[in-house]
Amino acid sequence: MRLLTIMIALFLGAGVLQAQMPNSDAHSAMTTEMMDHGADLSGVWNGRRAPEARAYGGFGFSAELPPMTEWATARFETARPTFGPNSATVADTNDPVYKCFPPGTPRIYFHPFPMEIIQLPGRVMMVFEYDHLIRQIYTDGRGHSEALSPGWMGDSIGHWEGDTLVVETTNFNDKTWIDRRGVPHSEELKVVERFQISDDGILQIDIMIEDPVAFTEPWSGQRQYGRVDWDIGEFMCMDNVSFLGFEQEILEFDE
């Protein structure tokens, strides 16, 4: 019996050793990659808003609207967001996020919950607390996939330019909004982000937005994040449904 136990232990041990080999390789690859570009984006990040952006930073990249085509303007006029100058009540909104569809890229940055960047060899992962959405940014040299259906968060391919991570995201559906005030986009949307950490440790994301169907010219916006000593928690969109009963009781209160 003891022999059998030892044999099983050896067998399992060999398995563990084998399983560790790729991890070990992966670790050295990560170290090499990180040394090559000298940037470490990993960590938990929480959104920062510049004082001048207080009026619009919760729902848009700037106070002004982006340069929309007629196609986009027509869609924008039918949008009933809950933020911005044309905001409707929650009961009247047609914002897709209120039906728990993913916010999309770059709109996810407007949801006020932290995100974690996990840097792996050939891949950077962004794990968002909001609805536990994940972006996988492949940095292993592959191109965009031709085998994906149009997606909510898009297909992200990245590469390093020195200490800047440059990410191109395409393959979107046209069901999300660019921001929280109802600016639309088409399936032709292309988002190019540049991730860089400033000398004072702020993660700056410069975002270039191109969509010949929706916009007359490319335009850009910026978001900033600060490192926080938090763990990513849960905030699941469907939990909002459980709040409906509480809210309804208050609305229907009759003395």
Binding site: E129, G233, F253
Partner: protein
């Protein structure tokens, strides 16, 4: 089978399709955010849950009748990080004073601005 499922699908459709899912953005529909009242009572239930933390507390009105009030706050993770709240912060029987916006329709409910414990300590930053 279709006949049996139809009413359920209809109900689910109404729930997801036509009702507000994010009450916190619609707080102004339910609560008068321009107004502020302060009410003291005794905690009956504390729910440290998403999407909104809820406090229920019993208040004796001028006629000596006890009424259970509710109070809604932001999400648990935000309260934990910004204000150090935990799921054990209150237990039934604790004295509490809450300042907040009253419900528009007169329901005994507040959208919270400040919470004081039994010693008068402010529990929100």
């Amino acid at each position: 089978m279709k006949k049996i499922l139809a009413p359920f699908i209809l109900i689910a459709g109404l729930l997801i399709g036509s009702t507000p899912l994010f009450a916190h953005h619609g707080a102004s529909v339910v609560y008068d955010l321009e107004q502020s009242v302060t009410i003291s009572g005794v905690v009956t239930d504390f729910q440290f849950i998403n999407p909104h933390v809820l406090i229920f507390f019993e208040v004796e009105n001028a006629d000596g009748i006890k009424v259970v009030w509710s109070a809604g706050l932001t999400s648990p993770n935000r309260l934990a990080r910004n204000d150090g709240w935990t799921r054990d912060l209150f237990k039934a029987g604790d004295q509490i004073t809450i300042t907040g916006s009253p419900a528009r329709g007169g329901a005994p409910s507040l959208w919270v601005e400040m919470v004081l414990d039994g010693q008068g300590k402010e529990l929100l930053n």
